[in-house]
């Protein structure tokens, strides 16, 4: 009898210790992964807010004697880690400068499109019926159209500008948010706590705002982070085609476009901003996925 108790006790202790070791390593891995993903995002944010802190040169300063210098070279102005363009401007400093507008457009467009999509999704998921059918058909119709081409058409008709871009990009985005939020709110509205909230006299608006929305918010946030990456790509595409941001404003997409005719002579003008764009989109994607896993585990 006594022996049994002892054995059980030690077994329990062993199980406990292996479990805690497991938890510790997992915690470390997770923390490192977070830092790994978070640091580039923070760095980019700093670049966007305080570009002067990182720039080696004035990004608009021209020096015709230092044209098309390859990466890692030095001119009379100083060191050019990423080389210079056809007017002798420092590519690295231009890339830092472009961060601000690239990120701003991506974040603002996602915020506008996301808000719109969330509203539509909540309403059509919660109320259902003809309203839902109408809104769903609308978003399906829009998804069926080649929206990138429509965006090009609109931008070339209305004239390219950042404002128009901030109207066109959200219209590309909202159906994605609407679809996810609609599915979530359809699931949620069947849950007992929503019925209980109605039973204490909540109005539909209050129900959506303080009971449904907070319970969908983590999903929306994950989606938004991932979509910021996609919007960056779309903006780069439109700017590359000449219907997006116009010089002298700088975005990464514009830099890629500017380097294209010189691809055979000066590869760095296209490749380096391209790599930066690709890396950033990737980071945002991974960040979103990691956040999804984290919030899924916590909730």
């Amino acid at each position: 009898m006594q022996a049994d108790v002892v054995t059980l006790g030690t077994l329990g202790a062993q199980a406990e210790s292996t479990k805690s070791v497991d938890m510790a390593t997992r915690f470390h891995l997770r923390t490192w992964l977070w830092l790994l993903l978070l640091s580039p995002v923070v760095l980019l944010l700093f670049c966007a807010v305080l570009p002067e802190l990182f720039q080696l040169h004035d990004p608009q300063h021209q020096n015709l004697r230092a044209r098309l210098l390859p990466p890692w070279s030095t001119s009379s102005d100083g060191f050019h880690p990423f080389g210079t363009d056809s007017l002798g401007r420092d590519l690295y400093s231009q890339m830092v400068e472009g961060t601000r507008l690239t990120l701003t457009i991506a974040v603002v467009a996602t915020a506008i499109g996301g808000t719109l999509g969330v509203l539509v999704g909540l309403i059509s998921g919660y109320f259902g019926g003809w309203l839902d059918r109408f809104l769903s058909r609308l978003s399906e119709a829009q998804t069926a159209m080649p929206m990138f081409l429509v965006a090009i058409l609109l931008l070339s008709l209305l004239g390219p500008s950042v404002t128009i871009l901030l109207i066109v990009l959200p219209t590309l985005l909202w159906p994605i948010f609407a679809r996810v939020v609609r599915a979530e709110s359809m699931r949620l509205k069947e849950s007992l706590f929503i019925e209980a909230a109605i039973a204490v006299g909540c109005s539909p608006m209050r129900l959506l705002r303080s009971h449904m929305l907070p319970n969908i918010a983590p999903r929306i946030l994950v989606l938004a982070v991932i979509e910021v990456g996609h919007v960056m790509l779309a903006e780069a595409g439109l700017s590359f085609l000449g219907v997006g941001v116009q010089p002298p404003d700088v975005t990464w997409g514009l830099l890629i476009a500017g380097g294209r005719p010189l691809l055979a002579v000066a590869w760095w003008l296209t490749i380096l901003p391209g790599v930066l764009l690709a890396m950033t989109v990737l980071i945002f994607n991974l960040f979103g996925r990691q956040f999804e896993r984290f919030s899924g585990a916590a909730g």
Partner: protein
């Protein structure tokens, strides 16, 4: 009993579905006096929950539920009220508790705030005042250390505690009627007893009327003055609780009572199940809906729907054989 607080007359609730019309509640009438406890008993699908939901019209927008008849609360027909007016009834005049306390609280809102929300929805009080009253309510329903637990999320409470919180929300505005839809079904027996006791205490303290819905005769016997037995969307028998236990008239009630296990039962002695299945909701029998399962069925049962036969001051039974089955006193 003067004019009752709640008079339900000829209540009919139908759902239009793709496969046809489901008559979940089929012309039921009952009264509820102020401060009275009324029980509804029946098996799953007998329409007892739908009755409760119909009183408060808790069917979501665009649900194809058709509610007919009259639900007179204090002389006003609730079925004639629209959105805004009905919201003032819900929570303030009539509170409701649901079956599953694990899912009936918002998982992301601190419990105290959920209690305070109900107060602030119906009364113009300051945030501080609502918080103070919510804390008192949590204490009233037996949450230990309510001040410190005010900001905890539902997941850190046990099922019984969550049901207590639900009760606190339901009685927050001192409603005159409390509807409890199987409040103890998801809880284990010891907790069940505590919750029932709490409900009865609150009922007496606040002078509320109670509608207790349950499939468990024991629960209803412990809490209610009168009982309505439902089957197939109708009330098949109603009586004072004691009278029902002493002289159940309807064969269905009789069958249900035989299913209550008792401690006196000898080992090996079997419970007698009611044979057969509940009626098909899309295809109700033309006569008595219990006829296909009834051990005492006669020809008439399959042809015509029986009306309630009055057997006493508050005792009625919807059975063609009610007079004959009456027990000699």
């Amino acid at each position: 009993m003067s004019s009752p607080l709640l008079e339900v007359r000829d209540l009919r609730t139908e759902f239009r579905t793709r496969d046809g019309v489901v008559r979940a509640v089929n012309s039921i009438s009952f009264d509820l006096g102020a401060g009275e406890a009324l029980g509804f008993v029946g098996e799953s699908g007998s329409g007892k929950s739908v009755t409760a939901l119909s009183i408060l019209q808790l069917f979501g927008p665009f649900t194809d539920a058709q509610i007919g008849g009259q639900v007179l609360y204090d002389g006003r027909d609730l079925l004639k009220l629209r959105g805004n007016q009905m919201r003032k009834i819900r929570g303030r005049e009539i509170g409701m508790i649901f079956q599953d306390p694990l899912t009936s609280l918002n998982p992301l809102m601190p419990v105290g705030q959920q209690v305070a929300e109900c107060i602030r929805l119906h009364e113009s009080v300051s945030r501080d005042m609502a918080t103070r009253r919510a804390t008192e309510l949590l204490e009233l329903v037996g949450i230990p250390d309510p001040k410190n637990r005010f900001n905890d999320l539902p997941h850190s409470f046990s099922g019984g505690m969550r049901q207590r919180i639900m009760i606190a929300i339901a009685v927050a505005c001192k409603p005159r009627i409390l509807i409890a839809d199987e409040p103890t079904t998801a809880l284990d027996v010891t907790v069940q007893a505590q919750i029932l006791l709490l409900l009865n205490d609150l009922q007496r303290e606040l002078g509320m009327a109670l509608i207790m819905i349950s499939h468990d005769f024991g629960v209803v016997a412990a809490t209610c003055d009168r009982v309505n037995v439902m089957y197939g969307g109708r009330i098949v028998e109603h009586a004072y609780t004691e009278e029902l236990f002493r002289s159940a008239n309807h064969p269905y009630t009789e069958g249900l009572l035989k299913l209550v296990p008792s401690l006196e039962q000898r080992r090996g002695e079997q419970l007698v199940p009611i044979s057969g299945q509940p009626p098909d909701v899309f295809n109700m029998p033309p006569g008595c809906s219990f006829a296909p399962r009834c051990p005492h069925v006669v020809d008439l049962c399959n042809e015509k729907q029986p009306e309630l036969t009055v057997l006493g001051p508050a005792h009625g039974s919807a059975c063609w054989m009610a007079e004959q089955r009456r027990l000699p006193r």
